[in-house]
């Protein structure tokens, strides 16, 4: 369940962020101009014959922010409040995210204004196939590679792939990522974002000269990303003392705390596929059940906001315990700019979303490479490369932050924007 704070226009925020980095990099006018706006935007109608026989037209989008470094990459969102501006902002962030982990892809994003909860499977399939029919000439393995995102699933990706291949009369599994394993998907994909987050966290601990086994963490969210992040963090020796999760029935979140450390398997056994922990069973298992926002106030070394955007904000940033040394952003945009300033001021080590959750897109890239070759790697191969890429990305960002005395978030953006700007210049675009 995604709750959104729409008080701000996300594209304007993305542009403001870019402007700040452009200043640091002293980018010239032409480069600023090309990076500040998407290179291409597509908006189109998708007519669908509904189950009741009526015709309905859905609005679809695809934005390719910048493809100087390679084919655009980014998810497709199904959301009733989707807007072109949201898609633009997210496409721009994808450009930076791909660049910060140095994978040869550009940034893109797409969406359809719809609510899958109110659509039958057949209707959803028609939307998927309709979306592809409208954009088939402008996307593809060498142009723009979509992936699942908010409220889209591997099943949606397969429908889209099938339509794309039917139109082109070829098998082109590299057109889209997030496919099921065995049908063009990659092993390791489900673990990638969570593991990737902990690979950067592990490197941050080395940077601060802290042993993982001497640390504790509190985690917001218990979906796919957080489950695998917790698994890997426990494996490297850490202890998670608190985890929060959404309660659909009560429409609020709860934090589950155990000072001696949570038992991951025990919690997974009482969690549904949306990441909701059964409150009563957790209580029976001896977990302290606290209001959801308490995850932030725990006296731990590490905070992992892994659920929603804007969760650490001006209102609650003051409640972060003085013991916290590292924040690793599993979610996209979990920290508001005001809170970010306070965290920076306090000297907490920030692993920004751009870097911390880039394991997902890195593995998507691996999937695309495998699909293009139609040759699939072992899980060892995928996760070994993932660790190497994430670690290298972290090292580059931390080194820049250190040498230029930058905040980690700024350093990540500086590296990313600089890489994309260079690619534009090298191609002679600006």
């Amino acid at each position: 369940m995604v709750r959104r704070n729409r008080a701000y226009n996300s594209f304007e925020m993305a542009q403001a962020q870019f402007d700040r980095v452009a200043e640091i990099l002293e980018l010239e006018g032409g480069t600023r101009e090309i990076l500040r706006e998407p290179m291409r935007e597509y908006a189109f109608s998708i007519p669908v014959r509904m189950d009741d026989g009526a015709s309905k037209v859905f609005r679809g989008f695809r934005v390719q922010h910048n493809d100087a470094r390679g084919p655009s990459k980014g998810g497709i969102r199904f959301h009733p409040q989707e807007t072109m501006d949201t898609v633009r902002a997210l496409a721009m962030w994808m450009s930076w995210k791909c660049a910060v982990v140095d994978i040869p892809l550009g940034g893109g994003k797409g969406g359809v204004v719809c609510d899958p909860h109110n659509l039958s499977a057949r209707e959803q399939e028609q939307i998927c196939r309709g979306w592809v029919r409208q954009i088939a000439r402008n996307v593809g393995p060498l142009q723009d590679v979509p992936a699942p995102d908010v409220m889209t699933t591997p099943q949606h990706m397969l429908w889209m792939l099938d339509e794309f291949e039917a139109i082109h009369g070829q098998k082109l599994p590299g057109f889209i990522t997030g496919k099921p394993v065995g049908l063009g998907g990659s092993l390791g994909r489900k673990e990638a974002t969570g593991y990737g987050l902990v690979f950067t966290l592990r490197e941050a601990l080395k940077e601060l000269d802290i042993r993982p086994q001497d640390t504790t963490a509190s985690v917001q969210g218990f979906g796919n990303v957080c489950q695998y992040a917790i698994e890997m963090y426990l494996r490297i020796g850490g202890k998670v003392v608190c985890v929060s999760s959404w309660n659909q029935k009560e429409q609020k979140s709860y934090a589950y705390r155990r000072a001696a450390g949570i038992d991951l398997q025990e919690l997974l056994d009482i969690t549904d596929r949306f990441g909701e922990i059964e409150k009563d069973k957790a209580e029976a298992a001896g977990y302290e059940v606290l209001p959801g926002e308490k995850w932030l106030e725990q006296e731990v070394d590490i905070l992992i906001p892994g659920a929603l955007e804007n969760q650490i904000n001006a209102d609650n940033v003051g409640r972060i315990a003085s013991t916290v040394k590292i924040i690793a952003e599993g979610a996209n945009g979990p920290t508001s700019p005001e809170a970010d300033a306070v965290i920076h001021e306090r000297g907490v080590f920030m692993i920004p979303d751009l870097l911390a959750n880039a394991g997902g897109v890195t593995c998507s890239y691996f999937e695309q490479v495998q699909s293009n070759q139609n040759y699939y790697w072992s899980r060892d191969e995928v996760l070994g490369k993932l660790d190497r890429n994430m670690t290298a990305a972290f090292e580059a960002v931390a080194e820049l932050a250190h040498s230029r005395k930058l905040y980690m978030r700024d350093a990540a953006y500086v590296i990313a924007v600089d890489r994309v700007a260079r690619a534009c210049r090298d191609r002679g675009w600006v």
């Binding site: 673990e191 593991y195 690979f199 890997m232 494996r235 490297i236 020796g237 072992s378 899980r379 060892d380 191969e381 996760l383 070994g384 490369k385 993932l386 660790d387 190497r388 994430m390 670690t391």
Partner: protein
């Protein structure tokens, strides 16, 4: 002894670029072999200031150890316990391990290692039980060398991970399980750490190998000539140490008498019985894919290849037919003999002194007699330094029980076996089974068949918990089937006493196999060499033939005796007897 060691820092992804030469990946124990190296490292640093002994650089080659926590994680997460403890063949177990996923928390480090390092790596076992005093486990688990020179880092990574999984799998191979059965250790109590280590050597075309490998022991259970047991023994071989460890032909000598004449009757015999083949890492065309074979990336070559590589000059002598003598070096034409004379007798490199010093330091550090392994490169060009890479140290077991065998006992009427060249020390009083190769049916070309039959008999006797006396012809544990019966230690691990007999058609010098003999002595297995033409040596074939057979084939016979045998060996004099306790 093998606990998680805080003196060992975490792996540094720079590897060769790092100041740390000894690191770990993952937690838990680092295993016996690594623990041995940790404990001896400081002693070596103290004994060899600046890491040198004269012109020779002395160091422990750079390594990282995967702790036993990763082994546990690999087993648990992939549910491998069932297949590991099943009756499936080694090959099936190895394949199941290859298919399983390695722990993700180690993959990044292994990937970084493969990315950064382009030279050969040795992937070695370092189990909890390995090298513990009196439980030597030497040569029981696998070691895999990988060339690690593929242009693609992904390839290198894949080969490295395969090698690690093979070492993990070897924990449960039949040989290892039989061995643990013999020493009374449960399979579940064993855990495997894995050492990934730089290979000492130099590349010569498609071959990568050290100029020489050495195994030194500070106590010699098998002394010859005028050497005494406490003077120790050194074995040298060209190329990888596999030649020595597998019991192949190599050069053995006493470090106190390095110039003593070798135990060969003639130069011709010396030429026949010195090393002519050596092992190297194959850097050339990829071999057939076989991730479960220890020798997948190894290649065997002959002296002609070594001469072409330029590695014989320091090590070999040349036979001069006119004078029927050997002259050190390879300056003239003629057959080469690997007797290491240029190095031991004429070189500026004080190899023997260095080995003696190493043995001293290690003996002091370990507090017991030791066996050490090392590999060396010699200067190929002027100004280049010699390097000794110290690979392993483990304690030996010294005899502590005095047995006195007089001349009278050597001629007692109830003797089944008597030998003046017996090895080991002590008394054994519980053997009622004898497995022997039939002297009239034995042929050198059938030794592999005999080895298989012995393995089957051994398995049965181990399962029944019955110790036995094993009698056969030629060198036990020989890698060359024409020189003896090519068994591995695990194939005869239930034997409490072994007789190495000769026949006019199988008349070779006694065995030299290091690990095989290390195991014999560590388990205090008595070993008798009985020469058919020596008056003092006895073996009563007729009496054996009259005993009732439990099992019999064309080549092998297994008899069960009414009264237990009495085995006695005097380690100081080398006399040994087996009393049949029959009525005269």
């Amino acid at each position: 002894m093998a606990g998680s060691d805080s003196r060992v820092p975490a792996f540094d992804r720079a590897f060769f670029g790092s100041e740390q030469t000894f690191t770990r990946i993952g937690g838990g124990s680092l295993g016996g072999k690594a623990a041995g190296l940790i404990s001896i490292r400081e002693a070596l640093e103290g004994a060899f200031p600046g890491g040198a002994y004269g012109p020779v650089r002395v160091d422990i080659p750079r390594l990282t150890v995967l702790g036993t926590d990763l082994f546990d994680a690999f087993m648990d997460r992939n549910g491998l316990h069932e297949v590991a403890l099943s009756e499936r063949s080694d090959e099936r177990i190895a394949h199941a391990f290859q298919k399983a996923n390695a722990p993700a928390e180690a993959l990044g480090d292994l990937r970084a290692l493969a990315d950064r390092v382009h030279s050969p790596l040795a992937v070695r076992s370092s189990s909890l039980l390995e090298d513990a005093l009196r439980r030597p486990f030497a040569g029981v688990y696998e070691t895999k060398m990988i060339p690690n020179n593929q242009p693609d880092a992904g390839e290198r990574f894949q080969r490295l991970v395969e090698a690690v999984k093979l070492i993990w799998a070897s924990t449960f191979f039949e040989g290892a399980r039989t061995y643990r059965g013999v020493v009374g250790e449960a399979d579940k109590s064993e855990k495997m750490a894995v050492i990934v280590q730089e290979v000492v050597g130099r590349r010569h075309g498609d071959r990568f190998y050290p100029d020489l490998s050495l195994v030194g022991r500070s106590f010699n259970y098998y002394p010859s000539g005028r050497s005494r047991p406490e003077e120790g023994v050194v074995n040298l071989a060209l190329g990888l140490g596999k030649t020595i460890v597998d019991g192949g032909l190599c050069w053995g000598y006493c470090p106190v008498h390095p110039k003593a004449p070798p135990p060969f009757g003639s130069v011709a015999q010396l030429l026949d019985e010195t090393q002519t083949r050596f092992w190297a890492v194959n850097m050339g065309a990829p071999p057939a894919f076989d991730p479960i074979a220890e020798t997948e990336y190894l290649v065997e070559a002959g002296l002609a290849e070594a001469e072409y590589d330029g590695t014989l000059a320091h090590l070999a002598s040349t036979y001069d037919a006119a004078s029927d003598r050997l002259s050190p070096g390879t300056g003239r034409q003629g057959p080469r003999a690997l007797n290491f004379a240029p190095l031991l007798d004429f070189s500026d490199i004080p190899l023997n002194d260095l080995v003696r010093r190493l043995l001293e330091v290690c003996e002091e550090g370990v507090g017991a007699e030791v066996e050490i392994e090392a590999a060396m490169t010699l200067p190929a060009t002027r100004g280049e330094e010699a390097r000794l890479g110290f690979l392993q140290v483990r304690p030996m077991v010294a005899p502590d029980e005095a047995v006195d065998i007089g001349t009278e006992e050597m001629t007692a009427p109830d003797l089944l076996v008597a030998s003046t060249r017996a090895m080991g020390n002590g008394v054994e009083d519980g053997i009622q089974d004898v497995v022997y190769t039939k002297p009239d049916a034995f042929q050198a070309k059938l030794t592999r068949v005999v080895a298989r039959e012995i393995e089957a008999a051994n398995r049965e006797l181990v399962a029944l918990g019955r110790p036995y006396l094993l009698v056969g012809f030629g060198r036990w544990g020989s890698s060359d089937p024409w020189l003896g019966i090519p068994v591995t230690w695990s194939q005869v691990a239930g034997a409490r006493a072994i007789v190495e007999a000769s026949l006019p058609s199988m008349n070779v010098d006694p065995s030299q196999g290091s690990h095989f003999f290390h195991n014999l002595s560590s388990f205090q297995v008595s070993y008798f060499t009985v020469h058919h033409a020596r008056d003092s040596d006895v073996i009563d074939w007729n009496w054996l033939a009259k005993q009732p057979a439990v099992a019999e084939s064309e080549l092998l016979r297994h008899v069960r005796l009414e009264n237990p045998l009495l085995v006695r060996v005097d380690g100081r004099t080398g006399r040994g007897v087996v009393h049949a306790r029959r009525k005269p």
